[in-house]
C-alpha cells in the first residue's frame, strides 16, 4: 500500500485515495474546433510510461481534493505531490 503525501493533509495511506490517470492531459477548450485525432488523443490515447509519471489522485476519504503525484511506475517511489492548481514543473 502506497504512502502518499496529500499537500493539504499530509502523509496518508493509499486506501484513502482514488486514482485519476495521467495528470499531463489537458482538456481541450470548450467551443473549439478539434480534429478527430486530437480528440481521440484526449479521450483515449495514453502513454503507458515506465518510470517517472505525473498522475492524478483524489483524496477521496480525506479532503476530497484532486492532487498531482509524481510517481515512478516501476518502483512506486513518489518524488513530489502538488495541489490541483499548482503547475507541473
Amino acid at each position: 500500500m502506497l504512502h502518499i503525501k496529500c499537500p493539504h493533509c499530509g502523509m496518508r495511506s493509499q486506501n484513502e485515495f482514488s486514482y485519476g490517470g495521467d495528470a499531463s492531459v489537458k482538456r481541450p477548450n470548450l467551443n473549439k474546433e478539434i480534429s478527430d485525432q486530437d480528440w481521440d488523443n484526449f479521450v483515449y490515447n495514453r502513454k503507458s510510461l515506465r518510470g517517472k509519471h505525473w498522475e492524478l489522485w483524489q483524496h477521496l476519504s480525506g479532503c476530497r481534493q484532486w492532487i498531482k503525484v509524481e510517481r515512478d511506475t516501476t518502483t512506486h517511489e513518489i518524488f513530489n505531490t502538488l495541489k490541483a492548481d499548482e503547475d507541473i514543473s
Binding site: M1, H3, S13, R27, L30, N31, W39, V43, Q58, W66
Partner: protein, 998 residues
C-alpha cells in the same frame, strides 16, 4: 499413555499443568507450553502423515515455521482448520488433530501404492500423461488428481471466529526477537523511538533459548528475559509474540498476523482469533535468523530424520528427546551442540562428520565427553519404513565422490546439520538485491531498496558477539536519526564457543547399484532425480525448474529445500550458484489464514448498510428489503401470503388508480452553490441550463468525455445561487467526484462549490391521480393547483411546523410530487403522508412497483444507462443541445454514434401477451438460424404492465427507430426460451406524457 520420551527437569514447559489432547482419535497427555509436535514426540509418536505424491510416511523434520511435513487437520471449539503445522500449534486442553493426506489411516494408506509405482511419477508426469485423450480429463484424470492432491480439508461451514485488522505506525519495526532483534530493539527504545518488536513464536529470545552462551554474566536466556521485561515496561515499545510478519510491501508497509487465540481451547468473548496488523514503519530491522539446511542422502524423508537444531530445540525447550540412539550427521560444528545436549542428558549419540579433521573448542568438548565421532563419514541411506531403524553409513573421500564400504548401524533418529541458511525472505520481498556469500554457501541481503536493514544470522553473521555489536549499533544509529536523542547502550561481555569452518558438502552420492530416493523438497516429494530429469529435458531457468518439478512450491515454500535445489542445478549445469540465482520470494512468508486477511469484512460487514430514516416503519409494515448499492430499500410490502409478483402488481396498480408513496431517500443529492453554477451545469449536462428560473426543476443527462451517458436526474434552482442536484442511487459518489474533478482541475475559474447532501434529506415520492388532493392536505397553505404549482415546479412548504421542500417531478409517469424534509423528520413526514393519505387509499410501494411504473412509461434507468449507451440509444437525443458545448459532446460525432442503424430503446411485447420475457435475453430475426445467430439487441428491463395486464419489456435494439411494428424473437438459451414478440414504442403508457402535466 506415558510420556516415555520426556526428560525430567529439563525445558521451559510448565510441568504443573498437564494437558490432554487427541491425535488420530487416540488420547495423549502433554504439558502447558508444549507444541503439538513436542507433545507427540514426548509420547514417541513420529508418524504424523503421508507425503503429497507418493504417500510416503512422514514425521517431524523441524520445530517451527520451516516444518515441511507435519501439517495436520485441527479441530477446535467445533471448528476445523486444515494444514496447521504441528510444530507451531501450541497445545491446549482438548486439542484434537488428525493426519492429512492419508486414507483410510496414517498406518495403512491406500495411496502409498504410488510409492511402489513411483517409476511412473517422475517430474512433469502430470503434464505429460494427463494431456490426452481430452475426454478422459473430467471423468478420470481430474477426480484422480484431486483425490491424490488434497492436503487438509477446508470447512464448508460459516467461520464463527472473528478476525480483526489494525493499523499502526512506528519508527522501528523489528522482525524477530533473537539476539539481533533484542539488541536493536533495546538500543532504539533507549533512544526514545517508537518500536514494535515481533516474534512469531510464543517465547521471546530465538536462538538464545537453545544456545549455550553467556551475555553479561547471565545465560543467553536470562539476558533475553531481562531485556524483554524491560522493553515491555517502556511506553514507546510494543512487544508482540505469536506474531508473524509475513509481507513487506511498498513504502515500508509490513503486514503481521498475530495469533490471539490459537493457543486457547476457545476464543475469549470479544477477542478475535487472529489480528492482522498493517504497520507503516520508518525503518525496518530484519532479525529473522536462519534456518538449518538438510544434507541430502538416501531415504532422507524417513520419519526420525530431522534437523539437528530441531532435535536440540525439542530437548532444551520441551525436555523431549527424539530418540534413544541418535545418529548426528553434520558438515559443521552445529551438530556437536546437539550431540552434547544428548550426552549431558544421559543419551549416547554417534556423530558422523563429513569433514576430515576439523578442530574447534566444541569438537574438543564433545571428545572430552566421550562422544563417539567418525570423521569423513556420511549417512548413505536411512533404513526403516515408518521410522528410522538403522542407517547405512560409509566413509567418504576428500573430493566427496567416492564412498567407502557401506556398514549398517542401529539408530532410531538421524539429526542432520548442513549448515545455516539466512532467512532473507522479508528483505527480498522489499526489493533488496540479494547476493551470494561464498563462505556460507547462501544468499544474504545486498543493497536495500526501502528503509530496511538485516541483522545477525539473517545477514549471515553467525557470531553472537558480532551480532550484538552490529545490532546495538544499527538500533542506536537508526533511532537517533529519527528521535535526535542518544542514550547509548554498551556492548555486553559475551562468552561463546568459536566454531571451525563448515564443509561445502550437501549431497551424499549414491553407492553403486543403489537407487535410493534422495529428497530435496519433503512436502512435495521432489527428489534429486526429478531435478535431473527437468534439466535433461531442457529446463534451464530456476523458475521453470521450480514449476516443472514443483520444488519449493508446497506450503512450506521450500524453506529447507531451496538452497539444495540450487546447489544441484549449479552442479549439473556447471555454473556457480549466484549465476543460477534464486526464485523470487513473495509474500506471505508462511501461510496466513484467509479469515485473517478478510478481517471483519464478511457477510453484512463486507460493506456498510445504509438505512433511510423511515426504515423501521418499513420493517413494521412487512417490507421485504433489497440491496440497492449500500442501501436497503423496500422491494415490496407483503400483505397476507402475497408473493413478489402479486404484491408489486397491487402496489403499482394503486399508483395508477389512487396514490402511492415511495421512499426515495436513497437518491444521491448534491448541494451546489455559487454565482457560476448555471454555467457549470450548462457544461456538465447535455441540455441548456442558463435560463432555469428560481423555483424550477429541470431534468438533465450528463455524459462522460467519451459520449457515454454517465447519469441522469433533476436539478432544481432553490434560489439565485443555490441549486439542488439529484443523481441515481448507484452513481451518487461517482458524480460528486466527477463534478469535483472539473471544478478543481479543468475549470478552477468557476466560482462553484459542491457538497454531498444525500444523508441530510429524507425523501418521499407521492404518485398517482389523487396525489394533488393529498398534497393539499399535507400543505394546506400552499397553492397546489396545476397553474399554481405546475410540472417541474418547486416550492417550500410547511408540514405541520416542519420545513419541507416540494418538487413536482415524476418517475412513475403519473401526477407526482417529491417531498424532502431534514432526515431526522423523515419518519414524521412519512407517517403524516400515510395518515392523511388514508382517505385516498394510499399504499406504500417498493422498488419492484417503481420499476414496473417506469418501464411501462419508457423511462430509462440504470439497466439502460449501463455505461455502454449514448443519449440517442436512450431516446434522450432531444435533450442534447446543438448550440452549446458540454462534456462529451465532441465524442457524439463519432461514426458509430451517428450511424443510420444505431441501436435505440424500444418496447417489446410477446405475441401471446402471456409469456414473461427474461431480462438479458437476445433479440433475433430468425429463431432457427444457424449458430451463432446474429443478435439484433437485448432485453434491458422487463415488467408486467399493470396498465394493459400483459408482459412488457424495454430493449436496446439495432436500428430501433425503424423497427416499430416488426416481429422478432426473444431467445434466452439460459432459460431455454424462444418467445415471438412484437416491437412497439418504448412509451407504452401515456406516450404523450399528459398525466404528469395534468
Amino acid at each position: 499413555m506415558d510420556q516415555n520420551f520426556r526428560l525430567e527437569n529439563v525445558g521451559l514447559i510448565n510441568r504443573n499443568k498437564k494437558i490432554s489432547f487427541k491425535f488420530n482419535s487416540k488420547n495423549y497427555y502433554g504439558y502447558e507450553g508444549d507444541t503439538l509436535a513436542s507433545a507427540l514426540l514426548a509420547n514417541g509418536v513420529h508418524l504424523i502423515g503421508r507425503s503429497f505424491k507418493y504417500h510416503r510416511p512422514r514425521g517431524f523434520f523441524g520445530a517451527g515455521v520451516d516444518e515441511p511435513y507435519a501439517v495436520v487437520q485441527l479441530y477446535r471449539n467445533g471448528e476445523t482448520e486444515p494444514n496447521v503445522k504441528a510444530t507451531e500449534q501450541e497445545l491446549f486442553e482438548g486439542l484434537e488433530a488428525k493426519s492429512v493426506n492419508c486414507w483410510p489411516s496414517v498406518n495403512f494408506d491406500v495411496g502409498a501404492i504410488n510409492n511402489f509405482l513411483k517409476i511412473f511419477l517422475p517430474a512433469g508426469f502430470y503434464y505429460k500423461t494427463f494431456m490426452w485423450p481430452k475426454s478422459f480429463w473430467y471423468r478420470i484424470y481430474e477426480p484422480f488428481i484431486r483425490k491424490a492432491a488434497g492436503l487438509g480439508v477446508a470447512s464448508t461451514k460459516h467461520d464463527k471466529e472473528r478476525y480483526e485488522h489494525k493499523y499502526e505506525y512506528c519508527d522501528l519495526l523489528i522482525a524477530g526477537s533473537g539476539p539481533s532483534g533484542l539488541a536493536s530493539a533495546y538500543a532504539a527504545a533507549k533512544n526514545g523511538a517508537r518500536v514494535i518488536l515481533a516474534e512469531d513464536k510464543p517465547r521471546f529470545g530465538g536462538s538464545l533459548l537453545t544456545n549455550d552462551v553467556n551475555i553479561g554474566n547471565q545465560s543467553g536466556k536470562d539476558w533475553a528475559d531481562s531485556i524483554i521485561t524491560e522493553l515491555k515496561e517502556m511506553p514507546n515499545v510494543i512487544v508482540k509474540n505469536r506474531s508473524q510478519i509475513f509481507g513487506y510491501y511498498d513504502h515500508n508497509m509490513l503486514v503481521m498476523s498475530e495469533k490471539v487465540s490459537d493457543h486457547l481451547p476457545k476464543t475469549k468473548k470479544y477477542h478475535p482469533n487472529k489480528r492482522l496488523w498493517y504497520i507503516r514503519a520508518k525503518e525496518v530491522l530484519i532479525s529473522s535468523g536462519s534456518i538449518e539446511r538438510p544434507i541430502v542422502f538416501g531415504n532422507n524423508d524417513t520419519p526420525g530424520v530431522m534437523l539437528s537444531s530441531a532435535a536440540k530445540e525439542y530437548l532444551k525447550i520441551y525436555g523431549v528427546f527424539v530418540g534413544r540412539n541418535p545418529l548426528i550427521f553434520t558438515n559443521n560444528d552445529s551438530g556437536y551442540e546437539t550431540a552434547i545436549e544428548f550426552k549431558k542428558n544421559g543419551i549416547n549419540p554417534i556423530v558422523l562428520d563429513s569433514r576430515k579433521n576439523p578442530d574447534s573448542e566444541i569438537i574438543d568438548e564433545a571428545k572430552n565427553l566421550g562422544i563417539n565421532i567418525k570423521f569423513s563419514y556420511v549417512v548413505v541411506a536411512a533404513q526403516g519404513y515408518k521410522k528410522v531403524k538403522s542407517a547405512d553409513i560409509a566413509s567418504i573421500s576428500e573430493d566427496k565422490k567416492q564412498l567407502g564400504k557401506t556398514e549398517n548401524i542401529k539408530c532410531d533418529c538421524i539429526c542432520v546439520s548442513g549448515f545455516w541458511t539466512p532467512t532473507i525472505h522479508l528483505a527480498s520481498q522489499s526489493g533488496n538485491k540479494t547476493k551470494f556469500k561464498e563462505d556460507i554457501d547462501a544468499f544474504v541481503p545486498g543493497k536495500s531498496k526501502q528503509n530496511e536493514t538485516t541483522l545477525g544470522a539473517a545477514n549471515g553473521i553467525f557470531s553472537l558477539e558480532e551480532t550484538l555489536k552490529t545490532s546495538l549499533k544499527a538500533g542506536n544509529d537508526l533511532s537517533k536519526k529519527i528521535t535526535e536523542k542518544e542514550n547509548k547502550v554498551s556492548v555486553p561481555n559475551v562468552v561463546e564457543k568459536k566454531s571451525s569452518k563448515h564443509d561445502k558438502f550437501w549431497c551424499v552420492p549414491l553407492p553403486k547399484g543403489k537407487h535410493y530416493k534422495r529428497f530435496l523438497d519433503f512436502q512435495n516429494d521432489v527428489a534429486v532425480s526429478d531435478v535431473e530429469i527437468a534439466l535433461r529435458e531442457g529446463y534451464r531457468s530456476i523458475e521453470h525448474v521450480k514449476r516443472y518439478t514443483t520444488l519449493g512450491m508446497a506450503t512450506d515454500q521450500g524453506k529447507t529445500s531451496n538452497l539444495n535445489g540450487l546447489q544441484l542445478v549449479s552442479e549439473i549445469e556447471n555454473k556457480v550458484v549466484p549465476a543460477v540465482g534464486h526464485t523470487t520470494f513473495r509474500p506471505p512468508y508462511t501461510p496466513i489464514s484467509i479469515g485473517a486477511i478478510v478481517g471483519r469484512e464478511v457477510g453484512k460487514h463486507s460493506k456498510p448498510t445504509r438505512k433511510s430514516p423511515m426504515h423501521s416503519w418499513h420493517e413494521k409494515n412487512n417490507a421485504i428489503f433489497v440491496d440497492a448499492g449500500v442501501w436497503l430499500r423496500p422491494r415490496y410490502y407483503k400483505r397476507g401470503d402475497e408473493n413478489l409478483f402479486e404484491a408489486s402488481k397491487r402496489e403499482a396498480q394503486n399508483v395508477r388508480k389512487n396514490v402511492g408513496v415511495c421512499d426515495v431517500t436513497t437518491l444521491g443529492k448534491i448541494d451546489i452553490k455559487g454565482p457560476d453554477t448555471a454555467e457549470f451545469l450548462n457544461r456538465i449536462y447535455t441540455n441548456s441550463w442558463l435560463k432555469l428560473p428560481v423555483g424550477k426543476a429541470r431534468y438533465g443527462v450528463m455524459l462522460r468525455e467519451d459520449g457515454i451517458v454517465m447519469d441522469d436526474g433533476t436539478t432544481t434552482r432553490i434560489s439565485e445561487n443555490h441549486y439542488h442536484m439529484t443523481t441515481t442511487t448507484a452513481q451518487a459518489a461517482n458524480v460528486l467526484s466527477h463534478l469535483e474533478y472539473y471544478l478543481q482541475l479543468v475549470w478552477p475559474e468557476l466560482n462553484v462549490n459542491v457538497v454531498s447532501s444525500t444523508e441530510q434529506w429524507a425523501g418521499a415520492a407521492i404518485a398517482g391521480p389523487k396525489s394533488r388532493q393529498l398534497l393539499q392536505k399535507l400543505f394546506p397553505k400552499n397553492d397546489v393547483s396545476n397553474e399554481g404549482f405546475p410540472f417541474m415546479g418547486y416550492k417550500e412548504g410547511d408540514l405541520f411546523g416542519i420545513k419541507a421542500r416540494i418538487f413536482r417531478i415524476s418517475f412513475s409517469g403519473e401526477l407526482a410530487y417529491e417531498v424532502n424534509v431534514e432526515s431526522n423528520n423523515g419518519n414524521f413526514m412519512w407517517e403524516k403522508i400515510i395518515e392523511l393519505g388514508e382517505e385516498f387509499r394510499i399504499q406504500p410501494y417498493g422498488t419492484e412497483a417503481l420499476s414496473t411504473l417506469r418501464i411501462e412509461m419508457g423511462h430509462v434507468a440504470g439497466s439502460e444507462l449501463d455505461g455502454r449507451t449514448i443519449p440517442y440509444d436512450n431516446a434522450l437525443d432531444g435533450l442534447v443541445s446543438k448550440k452549446k458545448d458540454f462534456i462529451g459532446k465532441r465524442s457524439l460525432q463519432r461514426a458509430a454514434f451517428i450511424s443510420e442503424d444505431r441501436q435505440r430503446v424500444v418496447g417489446v411485447v410477446p405475441l401471446d401477451k402471456k409469456t414473461s420475457i427474461p431480462e438479458g435475453s437476445h433479440l433475433v430475426k430468425d429463431s432457427n438460424a444457424p449458430l451463432p445467430n446474429p443478435k439484433l439487441g437485448y432485453i434491458s428491463a422487463s415488467c408486467w404492465s399493470v396498465e394493459y395486464d400483459n408482459p412488457f419489456s424495454l430493449a436496446i435494439l439495432k436500428n430501433g427507430k425503424n423497427m416499430i411494428g416488426e416481429k422478432l424473437f426473444v431467445m434466452s438459451p439460459l432459460k431455454n426460451k424462444v418467445i415471438p414478440v412484437e416491437i412497439v414504442s418504448s412509451h407504452y403508457v401515456d406516450p404523450k406524457g399528459e398525466r404528469v402535466r395534468s
